[in-house]
Structure formats: C-alpha cells, structure tokens
Homo-oligomer: 484 residues x 2
C-alpha cells in the first residue's frame, strides 16, 4: 500500500491531459451561486478556459470583439487557435451538478421498490442486482448507461458506490475516465448483513480488495485529476467492528475520502444500536469510534440525527449528502436541511439511485424544495424558516456538493483557477402557434413566454427542467455530452 500514498490533485497545473484540447472562449450569460441564498448573473460575459480545462479569465460585459482585443492578447492566445462557444440568447452556462451519493450498480432498479423500506428493500431488490454485476458484460452495460444518463442530466461529478466486485468496480472507474465524468469510485465493503452470495469473506479480504481498487485508479489517473478512489464501508450494519477499524486506519494512512450511510431509517438506527451497544445509541459515534468521521467523509441521508450526533458531525467536519427523492420514496423520513446548515454542516445533494428514483440532480433539487415545505408543514409552523429556496437548492447542487466531495476550490463555481465543469442550459421560448406545430415537443417542459425575469427563468428551470434543457456538458474543459 505504500505506493498509493497521498497524491495531491493538481489544480490545472498538470501538463498531462489525456486528450489534448484547444483553448476555449465562452460567451454569453453565466449564472452560478454567489452565496447560499444568492445567484450571480453575468450577462454578455466572456470566460476563457485553457487547454487544461482551467478557467483563466472571467470578464463581464465582454462581447467577442472586445474579448479579441482584450482577453486574448492578455493571455497571448491567437484568435485562430481559440475555440469560440457562444450561448444563444436565452441560454446560460451553469456549473455542472455534483451528485454526492448514488449507487451506479443499482441504476437498473430505479423506480422499483414497491412499498418497501430500507432493510427489506436491500434484500428484495438491491443485493441480487448488485451481486449480478460481477458479470462484466452486464456491468459494462449498466455502468455505461448510468454514466451517459447522469452526464445528460448535467452531472459532471458523481460519488459512486459500485459493488463488492473488484473487476467491475475498476471497470466503472475506467468508463468514467473514458467518458470524461469526474467521479469518486468506491468498492463497497461489507462483511456482514448481506446474503451469503454477496459478502466480503473477511475484514482482511475486504481491505485487500479495497486496496486493489484504489491502486487501479492510481495507476490510471495517478494525480487523481478526474477519478478519486473513495473508501466505502457500506453502512455500519454491514460492516464488522474489525472491518471498520481497518477502513478507518486506511483513511488515515491514505487521506482518501470516505463515504457511507447514516441514520436513514428508524429500523436501521435500532439495528445499529443493537449491533454497537458501546456507542451509546449514537450512530455517528459508531463511525467516530473507528476513525471514519473525517473531514473527507460523505454521510448519506442523516435523516434522524440527534442534536448530539449532528454536533459530532460538525466537530469532525464530516459532510452530509441530502437525498430527498430517496428519503421520500422508501419512506425514510425528511432530513432537516435547514437545521444541518444552521449548525454549519456542509450539505450537498444526492440522487441516491436506486433508493432514489431519478438520475437527475435537478430533480433532487426540486424535491429538496418540496420536502423542506413538508418539514415546515409537519411542524405546524407558518414561518418560512425551514423552506429551501430555488437559489439554495442550486447552491446545494453545485457549491455545496463541491464542498461535500472536497473539491470546492476546483468545481462548483465559475472563477479563475477553477476547472470548467459546466452545463449549457437552454429553455424553450414559446413562439407563434404556427412555428410551434412541429417543433416544440423536444424542447422540454420549460416554457418561457418572454416576459419573465432571469430569476423567474431559473425558477422555471428548477421546477420543470429535465435533460432536454441541458444542451452541452463539459468536464475539465472537455465536451462530454451534447444533445443532437
């Protein structure tokens, strides 16, 4: 393991890009989060992105002519060597979404859970599917599809759970690399709870296989420019104490990120309390006992955390992935995002496929708004405090997610020094009826009538947008998805 060490991801300073690319100049409207509650709108602006995918200039009130006489000379870029990408009127560039929690292996099961809840859902739907992905052709089919699908929804970074299988997990990493999706790739560690056909045989085997997957990534992407291995204890009930101890030690040695689940479902919490009686009824304490609550730990769900647990999470600077679609769909509960944010805990959004039914972070953002209203209603309060706004959920989907995956200096916003992980969003403008007759449908469900403010256009996108509105997607400056 000495060879995996702790390589530092480069911030665009590398000379080793896999696919040599041209300098690019983007022109149009750019929107990104300024703060949790506020979006910044840059109209008629120019953003220059170098061949390594790093933003090197952001210039408001700059059209092509002005860019050619100001930005390009300053950068010593020749106009003829620079690719120019102009957003159409009404379109805007927006940071790519960061999906902080999803199971690539469960993608074929989206929408399938009946009326089950977490523990029976795992046995009925999840473990059999995950186990079946030890077939590499099947894994190839499923993983290729989930990457293409999430890219098409503007997900430029995904924190993936794969399965317990080493070759299939490595295949997922390879496919992300070749597709150009930024990803954290986790081989699932579980040595108990699962069915006999789907378990690591021992803590030692689990550790060895985890190291194999880490080494695979570091061989393919030594500087972790695009892919980062992530240590993945499935969740406390599926991991023995010795296994969690080993994984906590591994996290410490490698300084790699960790992902797991916490406090998703009440029966699960009771199970954890019975399995780890020394933790004093604190699920968070279980992970902390084994060194798994680090500043690089992504905790999915956090629905039923106690005050004390949340304080511990805050103290350890661990992060939370809020997965509202999943929490509603499998009846887990409603996570109190405002309460977590007020405590100073960083929160991002996760689709949590296939506990969540949708591949779209935009759908997660929309449902986060709706769930926050249910929290407000449940508590019988008429005050606005618990409600999340459109601006806030877009922050969670970008800047918040970047903090959760530990890349806030690299992605989530549009500033010099950050990498160009961006989607180009277009909304449908309702024209005269004649024009509409055979041209409207593929434009999606956001209808702009012409009198809307930019803030209203963004709200319409959040409420009715889908992958049809995501016209192009770039990761590190590379075009990785384009609609026909």
């Amino acid at each position: 393991m000495g060879d995996i060490g702790m390589p530092t991801a480069t911030l665009g300073g590398s000379t080793e890009t896999k696919s040599p690319s041209r300098n690019k100049l983007f022109l149009g409207t750019f929107i990104h989060s300024k703060t949790l509650t506020e979006l910044e709108y840059l109209h008629n602006a120019a953003v220059a992105v170098n061949s390594l995918g790093t933003i090197v200039a952001v210039s408001p009130d700059t059209d092509l002519a002005k860019a050619q006489t100001t930005i390009l000379p300053q950068l010593s870029w020749l106009s003829e060597d620079t690719e120019i990408i102009v957003a159409k009127p009404g379109q805007f560039f927006f940071p790519g979404f960061i999906d902080t929690h999803l199971h690539a292996s469960q993608y074929p099961n989206v929408g399938l859970f009946g009326n089950s809840t977490l523990l029976d859902w795992l046995n009925t739907y999840t473990f059999p599917l995950e186990a079946s992905l030890s077939s590499l052709p099947k894994a190839q089919k499923v993983y290729s599809r989930v990457i293409r699908k999430t890219l098409s929804h503007g997900t430029t970074t995904a924190a993936y759970y794969a399965t317990i299988d080493v070759p299939a997990t490595n295949l997922l990493a390879d496919l992300c690399l070749s597709s150009g999706q930024r990803a954290l790739i986790g081989r699932v560690c579980m040595d108990q709870l699962g069915p006999s056909y789907y378990l690591d045989e021992s803590p030692a085997e689990s550790l060895t296989k985890t190291k194999q997957c880490i080494e695979h990534v570091l061989t393919k992407d030594p500087k972790m420019e695009l892919i980062t291995p992530i240590i993945t204890p499935r969740f406390a009930p599926a991991c023995s104490a010795p296994l969690m101890k080993e994984l906590g030690q591994l996290a410490k040695e490698t300084d790699l990120p960790v992902q797991t689940h916490i406090s998703e479902n009440k029966n699960e919490i009771a199970l954890v309390a019975s399995l780890f009686p020394d933790a004093g009824d604190s699920y968070a304490e279980v992970y902390d006992m084994f060194g798994l609550l680090t500043p690089k730990t992504i905790l999915a769900h956090a629905v039923h955390l106690t005050e004390k647990e949340a304080d511990l999470v805050r103290e350890r600077r661990s992060k939370v992935s809020h997965c509202p679609c999943s929490n509603s769909a499998i009846t887990s509960g409603a996570a109190r995002v405002r309460w977590l944010l007020d405590k100073g805990i960083e929160v991002g959004l996760g689709t949590d496929m296939s506990g969540g039914y949708s591949p779209s972070v935009l759908e997660a953002a929309r449902h986060a708004v709706l769930v926050s209203r249910h929290i407000c209603m449940d508590e019988g309060r008429s005050e606005e405090r618990d409600k999340l706004s459109v601006e806030e959920v877009l922050y969670l989907a970008t800047r918040g997610g970047a903090k959760v995956v530990g890349m806030e200096r690299k992605i989530g916003g549009l500033e010099v020094g950050m990498e160009w992980d961006v989607q180009l969003v277009g909304l449908h403008e309702v024209g005269d009826e004649e024009e509409e007759e055979d041209g409207g449908e593929e434009e999606g469900n956001v209808d702009v009538f012409g009198w809307e403010s930019w803030e209203e256009k963004v709200a319409k996108w959040v409420y009715n947008g889908d992958d049809r509105n995501t016209k192009k997607v770039w990761v590190r400056g590379r075009l990785v998805h384009e609609r026909r």
Copy 2:
C-alpha cells in the same frame, strides 16, 4: 337561459362527428385499471374502435390475422376500410389521463411562487396574469400552448378554470374543440377578494357572464360530446353569499357540473370561517348552504377537511381533486387520500397549474405516491396503510378522474361502449452501447434493461416517465397528438 336546458351527452351514438374518421383496429398490449389496487394487462390483444370513437370490441389473444377473420366480420368492417394501429413490442396502450383541476390561464406561471402561500400567491402572481388574458392574442398564445402541452403529456380530459373574461373563456372552449381535447370549461366567478381590476362587478353580472359561456359551449357542441361547461365559483372567499346562491340555483336548473376549491390552506380556512360565520366553522357547509355540493361538484384540494366535513362531502356524493404537486409547492399541506378513499369519496388527480408546477398528470401521480409516504412518516407509523401504490395512483389518474368529472361510463378504461381516449406509451430499451451513441437521449428517462416484469415496467414509467414516453394520444378515436 331556457335554451341551455339539460342536454344528455351521447355515448357514442351520435351521427354528428366533426371530422369523419375511419374505423380503427388497435393491436398490442393494453393496460388499464381493473380495481383501485389492480391493473389489468391484456397482451396480444385487439381493440376495435368505430368511426365515432367508441370501443366496439375488446379481444384478448388476438393478432391481426385472427382479428381479420373474427372481429372484422362480426363488425361487418372491411379490412381495406379499417385503419390498423399496432403497438411496437414493449409499447402499451393506456387510458388517457384526466386532469381534474387546473387553471389554463395560469400556465405561464408554472414554477413561479417563491416561498409564498395561497393568499399572497394569488395577489402577487395569479390575479395580474389572469387579468392580462382579457387580451385575446395573449389568451390565444397561452391557451394554445397549455392544450398542446397537456395533450403531449397524455391528458385527454381537463377540467379547466379559465378567467373571468367571457371572450377569452370562449376561446379556450373553441381551442379545445379544434385541438380535440375533452374538457370542462369554467368561466371564473368572483365578486370579492380580488383586486378592483379583476372582479365581477356584481352577482348578477357574474351570473350573466357565466350563462354566456355556457351558451357558447352549447352552441358549438350541443350534445357536449367533447366540451362541457362547468359552473365555477372560484372559492368561497372570492364569492359573495348572493353570488353563491345564484350559482347553486344555476347548478340545480342546468344539472351542469360545478368546480371550486376547498380547504386548501389554513389561513384560507380561517378566512372562510370569518366570512361565513353561520357555517359553524365548516368550509364544506358553506358550499352546502348554497346548493353547491352536488354529485357533480369537483372540490379541489380538500387538504384539511374535518371528519364532519368529509362525511358531508360523502353524503352529497361530491368529488375530490387531489393536487399533490400544488399542495407541496405552495406549502398547503398533505391531503389524506387514503382517509378520503376509505370514506368512500371519489378522488382524482389534478395538476392545479400553476399552484402546481407541472403540466403532467403522471408527475401528479408520482408525487401523490411520495406525499402519501410523507403522511405515513409524519404520523410516525410504520404501517403501510397510508401509502398509495403505483397501481392506485394510476387508478386515480384514470378511473378515479373519470368519476370525478362524471364520465366514468365513457372514459378512464378500455371497455366496450367506452370512448377511445387513450395514450400509446413507449419505454426506452437499453441496447448495446454502440447503438446508443447517438440515439438514446430523446427516448426519455425510463430505461428498460430487458429483464423487468410488466409490473416493473409500469413502475419505471410512473417514476421516471415524461411526455417523451407518450408517443400518441387519441380522444374519441381522433389522433390528437403524435411525437415525431
């Protein structure tokens, strides 16, 4: 008013169809609700629809060859005069959706409500837009779009609120007729609460204008084959007692349906109690006092009904339009659908645009599932009782909606004697990666991998389906929407 009387809608027996149409034979898989909890799957079946749009034969296990030797001769149809429509493998015919509550006039505002709740939302977003639709070019643009949009989502019947304006309301009826969408068209009655620029001047004016709209429909569609006028007191706070009395009397004279809102929001309920102190804190009693709780009354929302109110609704056989997207979005509450159903109240689904953000009844169905889980979670019960299943919400979207609009013998299912209001649904089959490269995106977000059961395919459609899955839509046998 003597001339509007009470025409009976014909059950396909009319000889006056607007556009003469051929007999049609549909072949493939047909799915519809058998009971609240059960879908019926008819594979390799044939359904014959005559030129009037009425289903005249439903035959399981019948391919084209068999149909030509059995059904066609029985019907005395010539093969060469019969249009044959074959669903591709994996596609299925499903009853068109019935949207039991939406405001056509508010369509441009979908997604725009910020953090507002009902009463401030009306003043900030809604009344100004509705008032502006007295401009007929604007009304034409908005109404054309909402009809095309809802048809594209498989909505074959819509219970529309228009505005207080007579010409614009009549235009909506005309556009539904020409587009072929079955609709209930309501001119909005309101003589108080609204701003001065958007009010009926008196109960008498409100009544006169309502009658003008009714007469318009009955001139254009005398037998109400496609369009039905519906008496529309906006909601109790916007209608004076004299106005409600007149409208109750009109409902009795004409036997026309009624639509209004009930018990959507707690502040609204308090307002009603203060405006109608004689009703004993019962919102339902207010409508009942004026004869507006009829077996043909559609009550939108019904979120906070008391036991006593629900019993009164049940006794009057009035119906409920459940609008979950709206109720979550503007923080109204979570309607207890199971409780209403257990009481024997008929329930359908409404998008309630633009309190609701989505034009899709499928989205309303999906969100009805999710809201039912929140009800389950809020009450701290682990039992399954409150949860609505995929099958149940599809029932509400079709058979339930048909009962709510009083057309259960005509639409909502696929039986002989019913009219062919149907959508053809197609799901995307994930193929080999090579084929996928430039062909997958427009297929929507339902991915079928090939090993799913039919029940699972339907669940996938409910959770991730959108208008891209609705390939064709017919109303009364007429093709009214087709994707390119």
